[in-house]
């Protein structure tokens, strides 16, 4: 590269405190960023991506400290520079875009007031000019009504718009460097496209250098010129995006690539009475209908994926099946027999047949109960197991989910990792020996490698116990790997349903097509091609 170096980090070490001991989070990482270049940082959670991103501003979070190495930003040593001069850089020459725009905006101030704060405080522009500039940037970020949107409060605009407004805000002083920390992770695929395209264009237009932090490879492939892979605070490898995608050198990088390759074999079409059939259900809260006349079936040993954007009614459909939300019209058949609408009216055996696994294992497991009771309780309750038989059953279940019974049986949920917690959620569902398990976004809070482990486990258990799965997700990559049938939902209606292969190969509806084409692919030209094909946007 003949370009001028903007940021140069050498041998950076950052320590975090747990209890009285300090342990290293970032273990001697080098990083070089040239002017106008976009560097992608990827890795699992705990790899030190965000910590490294913040260190590029000379900042360490509470409980962390920079313990070694140098951070050189355009000739200024950020480690030794006084706090006042670092503060002068932040927002003006280095800006930061956080993962959750909704949590990062101050809900009490209008967007444009928050926009103008940076330029005015740093003395770059007076207030009137900053406002005019904001409208210009909102237009470039392709926000609707750029003249007016700034005068709204954060809760009055959608998540994707908020994320773009935040990027515009980061641009307000025309910084040399922007750090994007997972800016699209919390967004739906369809919204993600718009934000990605907007961010990429604006970064190119102004020639801004950027560090783009994400765990999603396909996203970073669209955004970055170079990619750096991190694992537990260490660099695994770094290369140009195209060469890394074509030929990753390290085993770990290849394993990241391979995650999305898990796919189960096609199953023959199911026959016989479905385990669950949802018949013309209309349901909602208050006077609002969230679900409008939806129907679908789930057969034994089959996985039906229910996909759609947030707000499309996926989780509400699950609440109708479990009986938490009695439908206004229609009903649910279980093995051909109608189920009582409310779970309170269902018999213990009817409750046992339908179990649920939640998205957030943290809130789905009682933090004060040991695994013995968490898993044992359904077995004790439904199957009347006691004493030795119960103990043996709990141990069997732990072995099934690949956790060593002797080590884990008396632990509390807080003593487990995220993936292990989700496995306990699975064991608790299995303990009831159900016919149907509803998986509500069970993998969305997990890293890709952990996700793959959970998906494989679910797949194995299904074959072993003849389970039917209803798999609610917004992640189409997961659908591709685990589903037999797909139900596409939009605004409370079933838009399309059918076997996975047929639906993916030849979607009949525009919405399905839009959803499918919005899933990022591991091809650096994918976004360009997509935007060109859709026209208008680019």
């Amino acid at each position: 590269m003949d370009k001028q170096v903007l940021l140069s980090i050498k041998g950076l070490r950052i320590e975090g405190r747990s209890g009285d001991a300090w342990h290293e989070i970032v273990k001697g990482v080098d990083l070089t960023l040239h002017k106008g270049e976009v560097l992608g940082l990827i890795g699992e959670s705990g790899a030190g991506k965000s910590t490294l991103g913040l260190a590029a501003m000379g900042f360490a979070r509470d409980g962390c400290r920079i313990s070694g190495g140098t951070i050189d930003f355009d000739g200024i040593d950020l480690r030794t520079a006084p706090e006042a001069s670092r503060r002068g850089l932040r927002g003006k020459r280095i800006a930061y875009v956080a993962q959750s725009a909704a949590a990062s905006f101050n809900p009490a101030h209008k967007l444009i007031d928050q926009y103008c704060e940076g330029p005015v405080v740093h003395g770059v522009l007076p207030r009137e000019k900053a406002e005019a500039d904001a409208v210009e940037l909102y237009r470039r970020m392709r926000l609707p009504n750029p003249e007016e949107i700034g005068f709204r409060y954060p809760h009055q605009v959608s998540g994707g718009q908020l994320q773009r407004a935040m990027t515009a805000m980061a641009m307000s002083c025309r910084p040399d460097l922007i750090i994007f920390d997972e800016p699209t992770t919390a967004l739906d695929v369809t919204t993600q496209i718009e934000v990605l395209a907007a961010i990429r264009d604006i970064v190119r237009q102004f020639g801004t250098a950027a560090i783009y932090i994400t765990h999603d490879l396909a996203v970073v492939a669209q955004m970055a010129d170079r990619i750096k892979v991190l694992l537990r605070g260490d660099e695994v490898e770094e290369a140009d995006t195209r060469s890394m995608l074509a030929a990753p050198r390290e085993e770990y990088t290849r394993s990241l690539w391979a995650v999305r390759s898990f796919a189960r074999a096609d199953q023959p079409p199911a026959t016989g009475t479905p385990v669950v059939s949802v018949r013309n259900v209309t349901a909602g809260y208050g006077s609002v209908d969230i679900l409008k006349d939806i129907s679908f079936d789930i057969h034994a040993r089959r996985t039906v994926a229910v996909v759609g954007e947030s707000g499309s009614g996926k989780s509400t459909a699950a609440r109708v099946i479990t009986g938490l939300l009695p439908p206004r019209e229609g009903g649910v058949l279980f093995n051909g027999k109608p189920l009582p609408a409310s779970f309170k009216a269902r018999s213990r055996d009817e409750l046992r047949q339908c179990q649920m696994i939640y998205q957030m294992a943290d809130t789905a497991l009682n933090p004060k109960l040991r695994l013995r009771e968490l898993i044992g309780r359904p077995a004790e309750m439904y199957l009347a197991l006691k004493g030795r038989a119960l103990e043996a059953r709990i141990r069997d279940l732990l072995a099934l989910i690949e956790l060593e019974p002797d080590i884990y049986i008396d632990r509390l949920p807080s003593e487990l990792s995220g993936g292990q917690k989700q496995r306990i959620g699975i064991a608790r569902a299995l303990a009831a020996e159900p016919q149907l398990i509803i998986c509500d976004e069970v993998t969305s809070a997990l890293d890709q490698i952990v996700q793959e482990g959970i998906l494989k486990l679910l797949d194995r258990l299904q074959a072993e116990f003849n389970l039917a799965y209803m798999f609610i997700t917004h992640d189409l990559a997961t659908v591709k790997s685990i589903a037999d049938e797909v139900v596409v939902m939009q605004l409370g209606k079933v838009v399309e349903r059918g076997p996975k292969a047929a639906l993916f190969a030849d979607p009949q509806q525009d919405y399905t097509n839009l959803l499918l084409s919005s899933v990022p692919e591991m091809d650096p030209d994918w976004l360009n091609r997509l935007l060109a094909a859709r026209g208008g946007l680019a």
């Binding site: 269902r346 939640y358 809130t363 789905a364 009682n366 004060k368 009771e373 359904p378 309750m381």
Partner: protein
């Protein structure tokens, strides 16, 4: 000079008691709980030791006490000397004996009252949060109405209606205190009942009693325990106040609160005897709060 000496001796006693009790509890604990006691702060082990001593004294009162509880053994207001180590009171009863029996009555009643108040208050509070709807409305409005009446006046009223015996005393103070506990328990439980694990337990078909006992109560313990320490001390005050008004513990039953009042005149003569029962209350209050603080620290995960 004496002040400094007694301060040093007091400090030494505190450390000695705390150390010994920590070592003792560590040795006696089952192996799974050993780390809990090893990391216990000295204040907590001191508190535990003091509480243990109070419990022993109240259980063994008839054995330890040199005389009978209401027995007149000598002249009025005798000075500290054998066999009346702490002198006698205004009727000529042995102070040490009455102090020992007072532990039994005052601490026993205060503990029973607080425990009952917490049982009623937290079960009803969590139940209201769990079921919601009209039940919550009905219970909460009743509690609001009860809380609108000043507690001392309300207790006096109830005691006048139901008569003054130890049992009615316990029930009346517990009933009034339970309204405060109800408020706390309900608000804490409202944050817990919306969690997914409660939904999962409901879908499993668990009954309300089990939901309250196993799923919600363990997660609501931290604030409830903190409140327990505070309420326990307030109950002492309430009993003393009622005794002062002649509606609490009836003579000749020994009670620390009334012992202070009965012998208060001695202070005018520079005799500290009436302060001993007051000191006993203070020491127990401090000890209970030491233990509660420690439990709170552990429960809230602030130990890091």
């Amino acid at each position: 000079m004496t002040l400094i000496y007694s301060f040093v001796i007091g400090l030494a006693l505190f450390f000695a008691l705390a150390w010994v009790s920590r070592l003792g509890m560590h040795a006696a604990a089952p192996s799974r709980n050993k780390p809990t006691f090893r990391d216990m702060p000295l204040t907590a082990s001191f508190g535990m030791a003091v509480i243990l001593i109070y419990v022993l004294v109240s259980v063994l009162a008839p054995i330890i006490a040199p005389f009978g509880e209401g027995e007149v053994v000598g002249k009025q207001y005798l000075p500290w000397s054998a066999p009346y180590y702490l002198g006698t009171d205004k009727l000529g009863r042995d102070m040490l004996t009455r102090l020992i029996y007072g532990a039994r009555n005052t601490v026993g009643i205060a503990f029973a009252t607080t425990a009952l108040a917490f049982f009623i208050g937290s079960v009803l509070g969590i139940w209201a949060a769990l079921v919601g709807g009209w039940l919550d409305q009905a219970l909460s409005r009743i509690v609001d109405a009860l809380m609108a009446i000043p507690s001392l006046i309300f207790q006096l009223l109830l005691l006048t209606i139901f008569g003054t015996s130890v049992l009615t005393l316990i029930l009346v103070i517990a009933a009034v205190d339970a309204t405060r506990v109800y408020r706390l328990a309900r608000s804490v439980a409202q944050g817990i009942v919306v969690m997914d694990y409660i939904e999962a337990a409901r879908l499993r078909g668990e009954g309300n009693w089990r939901l309250i006992r196993r799923e919600i109560l363990p997660n609501a313990m931290a604030p409830l325990v903190a409140e327990f320490g505070l309420r326990f001390c307030f109950v002492f005050l309430a009993i003393s106040a009622l005794s002062f008004l002649g509606l609490g513990i009836k003579p000749p039953t020994a009670d620390w609160g009334s012992m202070v009042r009965d012998n208060a005149t001695l202070i005018t003569f520079g005799d500290i005897t009436p302060l001993l029962p007051a000191g006993a209350i203070a020491l127990l209050t401090v000890a209970v709060n030491f233990v509660v603080d420690w439990q709170l620290h552990r429960a809230s995960g602030l130990k890091e």
